[in-house]
């Protein structure tokens, strides 16, 4: 097989794995958007907050220690224990559920029936607030996160492809694990939405609030539920990204990657988020590989947006979004 084809295959595989993560982040948006019409600008910061909380808990860091020390003149920073990764993940999930409850109770609950733009602005406020809370609780230094996920080149694939093609593919173990986990999570969410009582209630709320109330569904409960799920999704995305490149502010920018995915897949479609994520993941890697040289490189920074823009011109509702028909 010619080298170019092999390289392209390797790039496509890497792209698919990046795409699964994009899909995961986009899914967090879609869940909240479908259930409440809120475009959650804070989704990225939620990933940052979740990852910071996870690191903090694992390292036994005292939350708000700067604040406490400044107020009481103490000098405490650590509890002096380490929390195992799995337990810390469970605890962080709990924190995200509490956060979801607070968001609903203190912010979104007061804005029911407001214009989408007002809800959107509330989430911008929430994003900055949460960023501040994250700094205050856990500090703002770059942190390394290691929950025990394998990293480095996968030797098996390397050897296997070398035997097969005479060229070993470089696939990172972390990418493999991340995409398997993300795929499982996505599948789990789809099954949850499709086959459980709460999932059915979630879809009902996404479809029609009045009708949902009339069959005894508490909108408030469902909103807390979707914010909790979005929080958990943010945690998973935060773990993947944080393991790869450290937990730091730039983590919150992964939300920006989700935007073109949503434009491509449609804001209301779970399959759309998945397919959109994969298309963008593969598209940007392949494009960089094929034309990056010609274009002066670093096309990954903008490719997704241009693709989404072109797509918007042809199909404004996205691949799977509901068709927008103006009633006249």
């Amino acid at each position: 097989m010619p080298d170019q084809v092999l390289f392209a295959m390797e790039v496509t595989l890497n792209g698919l794995m990046a795409g699964v993560l994009y899909a995961l982040v986009a899914l967090g948006f879609v869940l909240i958007f479908k259930a409440s019409g809120i475009f959650n600008f804070a989704q990225g910061v939620m990933a940052l907050f979740a990852a910071m909380t996870l690191v903090g808990i694992m390292e036994g860091q005292v939350p708000f220690s700067h604040l406490i020390n400044a107020t009481f003149g103490t000098d405490i920073h650590h509890f002096g224990w380490q929390v195992p990764a799995l337990l810390a993940i469970v605890l962080t999930t709990g924190v995200m559920v509490v956060l979801a409850w607070c968001v609903q109770r203190f912010v979104m609950g007061h804005l029911v029936n407001q214009e989408p733009i007002i809800l959107f602005m509330a989430t911008i406020g929430l994003a900055y607030f949460l960023e501040g809370v994250s700094d205050l609780m856990w500090g703002s230094e770059i942190r390394t996160l290691d929950v025990g996920l394998p990293q480095g080149i996968n030797e098996t694939i390397d050897a296997f492809t070398y035997d097969l093609f005479g060229y070993g593919f470089f696939i990172d173990n972390l990418d493999i694990v991340a995409s398997v986990i993300a795929a499982l999570l996505v599948a789990g969410l789809v099954v949850f939405a499709q086959y459980t009582k709460q999932g059915r209630a979630m879809r009902a709320v996404a479809d029609d609030h009045q009708a949902a109330l009339s069959v005894g569904i508490s909108l408030n409960f469902i909103w807390v539920l979707v914010w909790s799920i979005a929080g958990f999704v943010a945690l998973v995305a935060g773990i993947m990204w944080g393991t790869k490149s450290g937990v730091q502010f730039s983590l919150s920018l992964i939300a920006l990657k989700a935007l073109p995915v949503l434009m491509l897949g449609g804001f209301t479609s779970i399959p759309g988020a998945i397919v959109g994520g994969l298309i963008i993941g593969v598209g940007e890697k392949l494009f960089e590989f094929l034309l990056g040289g010609l274009m002066g490189g670093a096309t990954e920074n903008w490719f997704a947006y241009v693709l989404a823009l072109l797509f918007l011109l042809v199909r404004p509702q996205g691949l799977f979004g509901e068709k927008i028909i103006e009633r006249v």
Partner: protein, 272 residues
């Protein structure tokens, strides 16, 4: 207090029981508009109670008060012998009051079966964890509720569309699916807001038959709003007549038909 044992027997031999729902001096305003003005009436167990009146009379508003969607400024709502505190619509649904809407509110993106299954939500008790991990109880519960849903689908003769997304159905069938969803809750009180509006004669006949059958076979208490006088007179045991937010008549179809205020309202006699 009303005696729950009191009641009467209709001409066709159906037993009408004590009062299940009582509205006392209800007043509801929207800004300057008085949608309901100091209205009292009751609904008895096992009866079909109609609410009629010209457009804008406040009929839907009354149904919305009963189902908790609107909160009246004044008055009391008594359900099954207890005064109901201020409640949310979903809590009313959980107390066993199901409803349909004047402008159909279905889950358009879901299949007919899924829509009907949402009607069973109030009967499903398993928590989120056992649901998530699909533990035994959750599965058994789903199966049992699925059976009820299928029975109701058979009952309303919509088996042929059970898997069809609701958005693809014609208007008349949507109305029927909405009734199916409400029935799936096995409600103690069923509220129907113009179940036959916009239907052709044949569809109306079908719907009338279903309403009578529901009342007959399950003994469900029904309150319905309807504009078609013929239908109202055929279906209902007692009728409340509203006009401009006030109650102008209350009684059997015959009594109401011969009430001068009601005749005036329907003939459009000028209000003074």
């Amino acid at each position: 207090m009303l005696d729950a044992s009191e009641g009467f027997t209709t001409e066709d031999g159906r037993r009408i029981g004590g009062v299940v729902m009582e509205m006392k001096n209800i007043t509801l305003r929207f800004g300057g508009v008085v949608a309901i003005q100091n209205i009292s009436f009751d609904i008895r167990e096992g009866e079909i109670r109609a609410i009629i009146g010209p457009n804008g009379a406040g009929k839907s508003s009354m149904l919305n008060v009963i189902s908790g969607f609107y909160v009246p400024q004044e008055g009391e709502v008594w359900f099954e012998g207890r005064q109901r505190p201020k409640v949310k619509p979903y809590e009313v649904a959980r107390q066993g009051i199901a409803r349909t809407f004047q402008n159909i509110a279905l889950f358009e993106g879901m299949s007919v079966l899924d829509n009907v299954m949402t009607g069973r939500l109030t009967h499903m008790k398993t928590g989120i964890l056992s649901q998530s991990f699909w533990l035994g109880r959750a599965e058994a519960e789903e199966t049992a509720n699925r059976e009820v849903a299928e029975r109701i689908i058979d009952f309303l003769e919509i088996q042929h569309i059970r898997k069809t997304p609701v958005s693809r159905l014609p208007y008349g069938l949507k109305k029927r699916v909405e009734l199916a969803r409400a029935l799936a809750a096995e409600p103690r009180l069923l509220l129907l807001d113009e179940p036959m509006a916009g239907m052709n004669v044949e569809e109306k006949e079908d719907m009338s038959r279903f309403i009578l059958d529901v009342n007959d076979e399950f003994g469900t208490t029904i309150a319905l709003i309807e504009h078609d006088m013929g239908v109202v007179m055929d279906l209902s045991d007692r009728v409340v007549v509203m006009d401009y937010g006030r109650k102008i008549g209350d009684g059997t179809p015959d009594e109401v038909r011969n009430n001068q205020d009601v005749i005036d309202a329907y003939l459009g006699v000028a209000h003074d």
